[in-house]
Structure formats: C-alpha cells, structure tokens
Amino acid sequence: MLHQPAHKAGSVERLEAEPVNAARQRRPLYEKRRKIFPKRAEGRFRRFKWLVMLVTLSIYYLTPWIRWDRGAHAPDQAVLIDLGARRFYFFFIEIWPQEFFFVAGLLVMAGFGLFLVTSAVGRAWCGYACPQTVWVDLFLVIERFIEGDRNARMRLDAGPWTLDKIRKRVAKHSIWLVIGVVTGGAWIFYFADAPTLLKSFVALQAAPAAYMTVATLTATTYVFGGLMREQVCTYMCPWPRIQAAMLDENSLVVTYKDWRGETRSRHAKKAAAAGEAVGDCVDCNACVAVCPMGIDIRDGQQLECITCALCIDACDGVMDKLGRERGLISYATLSDYAANMALATNGGATAIDTRRVRGANGAFVDGIRHFDWRIIFRPRVLVYFGIWVLVGLGLLYALVSRDRLELNVLHDRNPQYVVESDGSVRNGYMIKLLNMIPEQRRITLTLEGMPSAQMRIAGQGDGRSFLVAIDPDKVTSLKVFVTIPKAKLPEAEQGFSFKAEDPSSHERDVYRANFNQPAAAK
C-alpha cells in the first residue's frame, strides 16, 4: 500500500505518504513501530545541514590526531584526557584535577548555551548539531546510496528476500557497523596518544578497556543511528521535554502556516473556479515524505518534530514550481502564527479563508505579520545570553590568572611536635610543590616570619631559604623540619609562612602554616 505509484498533479509530484502519527488518527501507544523512509530533501537548509555534518564529524574524528608540541615532558597531542596521569590537555591549556572546575564551567556554559539557542531559534540543537541527528543523517546517506531513495527503499523493504535484497542489506549493515567501529575508535583516541594506540589496537595489544569501549560505542552507534533512529528522539531523549519548557510564543519553530495553506486542495483550479476558498497547500505530501521523524507538520507543533527544517526545503521546492511565495512551511513564532490565524478565521468565527489574507492582486494583506528578527532579542534571550557571557568571562579570567606553581603543606599531626635533646622544639611538614608546567624548574623555598626558626630539609642542612629542583609537570614532595631553639621559646608568633618562588618568573605561592609547641612552653 505504501508503495503505490505517485500521482502527478501538474508539475508537482504527489506522494503517498502517511505520517506515522497524525492528528486525525492518533496512533495507539502500543502499536508496532511504523518504518520511516525519509525522502532525500534538497534546499538551503539541507545544504546547511550537510555543512554542519561535515564540520561536526570532522571535529569529532580528526581532533585526536592534531599534534601540539609541549616539549619533552608532556604529550604532544592537542586534545588529550590522560586519566592515568590525571591531566587534561587542550592545546595550550593544561588542566590538573583540582582545576576541573574549568570543565564544570564549560558544561554550565554548554547548558546556558542550549537555553540561549533554544529560546532564540527553537530546537536548533536537535535539528542540526545533535549527534543523534548527525549520525542518523550519515546512516541515511549510506542507506540511500545502497538501496536508493524513498520509493526504491519501500519497494525493497516490502519485497521478498531475493539475492539482491540480501546483498543490499548485508552491504548496508556492514558499512553501518564499520562507521560504528570508526566512531567508537575515534572516542578512545581522546584518552591516549592516538598513533600509538592505533598501532597497539590493530595489533590486538591495547588495553581490554579500549576494546570494550569501542565495542560498546559501535553497538550504540549502530543501534541508535541505524535501527532506532527517530525512536531515540521520541522515546528516549529527555531533551524534547526539557526544551519544550524553554520555548515560548516568541520562539522560532518550524510552522505550517494554515492561514495561507488551507483549505488544501489537490484540485485547486477546479475548486477556485467553483468559488471556494483555496489555500496554497496542494496536499502533495512532500513535507511528510522527507520528514525523518515521519510526522506531518501540517498537524501543528508536535513533540516529535526536531526542527530539522527539511520539510521547509521540500515545501519551498513545491512552492517554487507553483510560482508561489516560499515559506508555506517556515520558521515562525507562535504569536505571529496566532495573529495571522485570527485574521484568516476572522477571530475564530469562521473556517480559514485565504481570501482574507490575500488581497485582490494575490499579495498578502498588510495585516499579516511576518517574522521580525528583532523578536530574537527579547529579555528572556538576553538574560540567558548575559549569564552565558558572565560564566565565559569568569572562566577566561580564571584561566589567565591561574597559578602554575602551587604550594601545599601538610603539618605533621602525630606527633604534633618533638622536643629535641637541647630543648628546642621541632615541627614536621610535608611540603608539596606543584609544578604545573612541563618544564624543570628551580624554585626557592623560604621561611617567612618567626625569625628564630630554622628550616631543615633532609640532606641540605639548616637554613631559612633553600633552592629546590622540582620536576616538570609533577608534584614534588619534601619533608621539612622547622625548629625553634629553646632560648626563643615560647614562640609568640601564631604562625609563619612558607613561600615558594620561581626566581626567574617571579611566580610565587605562599602557604600560611602553624607551629605547635608544648603547652608548658606557651
């Protein structure tokens, strides 16, 4: 039934396309999934989506292969999450575990970025950039390449299992699986040196976790992108629900303009001649045929719609052929839509009558509201933008002002102090010097305050300042003893400071420490 030959209506091809779920016939929740065979769309949104796909997939697959020279003491991979050494490298930025708030901040920015985009231009994330959308698109390219476009695919699907069908299906699923392996493979390269890992992976010598990860991601890519497709968006993904809460009457959503499309008619000329009100929609079903979600946008806003805008392309093509204005389906706000509907129905008093929206010369009357880009800059969007920018500036400030030399001190607590044979009192400290750049450094460690105190580092004797070599990109631990002679006890100063300073860059960090002494000496 689905593959009935298409009718011809003038120059416009009329397709038999039944939406998987329609207002006139709601699908029961427990019904078996109806297969969707999206037709190839052409137009400016489709071209834009090819571009987005190219860019996003290239970023994903190629990023781990970018090299970035950091010298001898750090890896030369531009983007690397080194879980073993607990370092995150991103081009010129190196993040230590305690700086993970940068990543948290980026996630906060990503969240507000989504709010921002959604309130401004609707579910653009879903329609263009979401991995699910991008990979389904990629899988559909393969499917079309092997099995042909919509009609051929529907014929093949309904037909018997011939040798040709088996050949095509095997080819399609094999290529899908290969894409899955490459996708999972690209993921693991973010976590280890990519060329080395690739070699050991192929030689079957990589860590089991690598193979497990690739296997899991191959499976999810294949199942989500090839088999489940629109069901992931409709049933599994929480975003449609959350994003719906961020849309308001001024958000851009893909809209079918009933007020100029209705009454749809396949025999427009005849109907118009009979004096009936005829809309622009010729009921060709092109919009339904291209929809990857299998819905009919003419039923109005629907949860399933990912605003991929392919139906806009399809309908614009039809309108071009008919010589009418494009945009019967287009991005529009609900408030414009409602105003125009009120005009077309005389405030809801009558059915839609396109004669109210078009003047005698066929042009739209002045009362019709068209999209005004200024509506994007409304308070809600500006607030999201403001927060997004603030978080971004905060992160930027934190990034340029952060320390690359850090000093942490652990004061011995057991024993709290030691009385030496000459009656002096000694405290022990574990000093941790964090050299957060991949270069060997010599820093001075100095005691500030408590003028009578002396510092001792094993093997270096006594003093109040030492030159210490610290390893590149590492934490260097030093056991330090601080002693106050008996004559100077009790020490009145409550505390003192350790100061670490790089004499060449003057980068420094100061740690305020305490000195414990016997109660009797206080």
């Binding site: 929740l29 427990y30 078996k32 011995d412 607590r413 057991n414 024993p415 030691v418 009385v419 030496e420 044979s421 000459d422 009656g423 000694r426 022990g428 094993a458 056991k479 003893f481 008996k486």
Partner: protein, 289 residues
C-alpha cells in the same frame, strides 16, 4: 470473569483483564516489546550467570560455577601482582647495604614507605603510631639515641632487640638498684644534682654532695659530665629528654628501683629486608644521625 467474550473498554477500545474494582477495570495493554525483550534477556542472563558463577547456596557451600571464580582468589591474585610489582625494589633492599639504599633517593623513598607500614604493624604498639613513644618507651622522632642513631645502629637495635633473652647479640645493660646501696639522703642529693644540670634543683644545698655521689656511683656509666654512654645504653642526663619521666622524684624512683625496658629482637621474625626498611624509616623521622 470466565466468560468467553472478554470485556472491551469503550473509550480506548482495549480489552480489559476482567478484574473489576468498584466499576474500575484494568486495561489489558500489552507490555512494550522492548521492555518484554529486556525482561527475557535478563532471565537468560541470570541463567548464564548462575551456571558461570557461584550462586546457589548448598548445605556447606554455594555452587562453584564453571568459571571457578572466587573473590578470595581474586584478592590473592591482586596481592601477588602487587608483590611482583615491588619485587625489584625488595630484592635490592635485601642485597644492598643500608648506606647504598640511602644513597638512591627512589629506593630510599620505597624503603621509607615500606618501613612506615611495617612500623604500624610491629612497632606502634609500644612506640605509638607517630613513633613519639611515651614514658618508658623512647620517642623515635627526637635526636637522643640510647644505642645510637646512625642507620646501621638503628638496624642493630631492631634486629637483635634490647635485653631480649635468647638473642646473643641483643643489647644489654642494667642499672643497679641504688635503693639497696645508697642512703635515701644520698639518692635525694644525687637527684638534686642531676636536676641542676638542666634546671633549678629543689634544694641548691644538696647539689654539691650529690655531685660527689654521682661521681662515685654513676659516672662510670653515665659519664663524668652525665652525658651518657651509648656503649651501655646509658641515657644522657644533661639534656631535655627524660625517658622515665622528668623531675627529681622520677629520678629518685629510677635510682631506687630501676625499670628496664625490653625490646624484642625482630630479625628472625620479620627478616632482614623489613628490618632495613624499618631502620631507614625510623632514621627519616627527623632525629637520624
């Protein structure tokens, strides 16, 4: 309920289960297929798991499972892995001299860490978890050493113990009970003299006679200057550290009826490498010489 024709709900057009509560009927909607298949998959998984892994409790133990997995064996394997990873260092500690170990910063650090954990198991009971000791139990952090604070000397002390019967090389010394040999006044005078070396005695008049008693009876072990002798494990009495307690009364008590600490010999019990690790650890605490 047993009727042939199932009741069909008018609104939804779905069959009901036939159960009814006050007019409310339960729709007999099928399970979503993905849910049903997941459920079957868990059953198959459970069967496979029960065959592969220990699962069914029997009278004495659970079934073993064909893979022969046990968490105890896993721990054993992990432990032997850890041992294997340390093997190189442990071997070097066993074969090298202490001074050579100390000269290699990495090996020294390994020995200190290993010594720290051995200390917690074997030594902390007397010397405390921070090695700060207590009355009668020496503080190992400070720079006073009864029997010497060089790594080799510390090794010797740990290996053979102090006054440990049954070890020929154990460190031995015994302070006589002066309560039987000296008059109480003499003992009090000696205590006053010893106290005067580092502080103010209770009665300055006793210091001079005490000095004489000390020279006659004590200087042979503690030295004429009372700075002690490591040969006899005789403590320095002219410093700030008092193993048996501070003050004249504590000195009097120790003179009259001395208490002698005993430390076990560890070499036979924990072996040479661990004793080396302990010696290096104790030496690193801050007082090592």
């Amino acid at each position: 309920m047993a009727d042939e024709h199932k009741h069909v709900d008018e609104v939804s057009g779905v069959e009901t289960t036939g159960h009814e509560w006050d007019g409310i009927r339960e729709l007999n909607n099928p399970m979503p297929r993905w849910w049903l298949y997941s459920f079957y998959a868990t059953i198959i998984w459970a069967i496979g798991y029960a065959i592969a892994y220990p699962s069914w409790p029997m009278l004495t133990e659970a079934t073993r499972g064909v893979l022969g997995y046990s968490s105890r064996a896993e721990v054993t394997a992990e432990l032997s892995d850890a041992k294997a990873a340390q093997a190189g260092n442990v071997e070097r500690i066993a074969s090298d001299k202490i001074e050579d170990i100390m000269a290699d910063p990495e090996l020294r650090q390994f020995a200190i860490s290993a010594g720290a954990s051995a200390f917690k198991v074997n030594c902390a009971q007397c010397h405390g978890s921070g090695a700060a000791g207590g009355k009668g139990f020496p503080n190992l952090n400070d720079d006073e050493w009864l029997w010497g604070g060089k790594p080799e000397e510390i090794y010797q002390t740990i290996a053979h113990g102090i006054r440990h019967a049954g070890d020929g090389e154990t460190r031995v010394s015994e302070m006589p009970a002066f309560g039987d040999m000296l008059a109480p006044e003499e003992i009090r005078a000696t205590a006053a003299y010893v106290a005067s070396l580092t502080g103010t005695p209770s009665s300055p008049a006793l210091v001079e006679p005490g000095k004489q008693v000390f020279a006659d009876n004590c200087a042979s072990c503690h030295g004429a200057d009372a700075k002690g002798s490591r040969e006899f494990g005789a403590p320095n009495l002219a410093d700030a550290i008092w193993l048996k307690g501070e003050g004249e009364q504590a000195i009097i008590d120790q003179m009259r009826l001395p208490k002698h600490g005993v430390m076990p010999a560890w070499l036979q019990r924990i072996g040479d490498p661990v004793v080396k690790e302990l010696a290096i650890f104790v030496h690193s605490l801050g007082g090592g010489e």
